[in-house]
Symmetry: C2
Subunit: 182 residues, 2 copies
């Protein structure tokens, strides 16, 4: 299943698709690493909302006032990491991330269930100090909803097994890939 | 269990300790995010080897020739992220990472089982292109073994529940902590 470059890349996209479809799949919860506005690397768990192989795109939803949006406005470069224990596969996806808001985010907002909309509009803004743990409100607000559209430029896959296999694929090469020492 | 700042911080350290002790615990496999040598953010899954609460230190083992060592030599700033689904806790640990090698790494090397030593000395070096997937050797070598000693400077905890709770703790404040809007 991971003996050829094509098989390995197929496996990764299968697992990404499963992450979108199944809330219990490991690829549902990638880590998104960015360059923090204060110069530190910053990384946090996110929820994978779309994986489009032909376009080479992943999508994540967030609040426009989150620190990751500020980071990505300042520098769109990111790495998305998933460890999928069910198939012993680490996926590292280097991407340039566009922040879509307003009308560009409206189709995705229309698909967000009412019960989940409160995640995009809490008051005060995410990361604001508050006096007690529940001193905030959830108030769904389309104007605070953003789609992070990650255009993948490279994929580094590491399959752990009796013998490890690692390969890197680049958009610029048409995703043909090459093997790397693990 | 997460109603007070002290309880929340206790929970995080309990889960980190479990990650060191139990290879099946979620905290066994953090993501380490750094500033890549090429300017991109870089993140990868690592194995948690030590968690020392009093010192505020986490430890990870790696190959001296890995890209993360080059990154950390250039800039020691890092963020370590763990999503622990068993307790619905996200841990983000901002740290400055020292790379220990040679005699400084010798005590840790002495504790690495023979069967695992091959992970610290593969030839060619990790990330080198190779013609076929298994065109590399594992050759354990103390001189290629490094301990990444992460001195934590801040901890951001997010507990997911019927109501989410988020808090930030800083070494500079003696880890007293403050609540944040999630």
């Amino acid at each position: 299943m991971t003996d050829t470059l094509a098989d390995l890349l197929d496996l990764a996209w299968q697992r990404l698709a499963l992450g979108v479809a199944d809330r219990n799949a490991p690829a549902r919860y990638p880590v998104l690493a960015t360059l923090g506005a204060d110069g530190w690397p910053a990384a946090r768990t996110v929820v994978l909302r779309a994986a489009q192989r032909i376009a080479g795109v992943l999508e994540i939803h967030t609040d426009t006032r989150s620190a990751k949006v500020a980071s990505l406005h300042a520098d769109p470069r990111a790495e998305i990491v998933i460890w999928d224990p069910a198939v012993a596969l680490q996926m590292r996806l280097r991407a340039e991330v566009a922040v879509l808001t307003g009308s560009a985010a409206a189709p995705a907002w229309a698909d967000v269930p009412d019960v989940a909309r409160g995640n995009y509009g809490s008051l005060p803004a995410p990361g604001t100090p508050i006096p007690t743990p529940l001193a905030y409100e959830k108030a769904g607000e389309a104007g605070r909803f953003a789609v992070l559209r990650a255009q993948i430029v490279a994929i580094d896959l590491l399959h752990i097994g009796p013998a490890h296999r690692r390969a890197r694929f680049r958009r610029a090469d048409g995703w043909t890939g090459e093997w790397l020492a693990p």
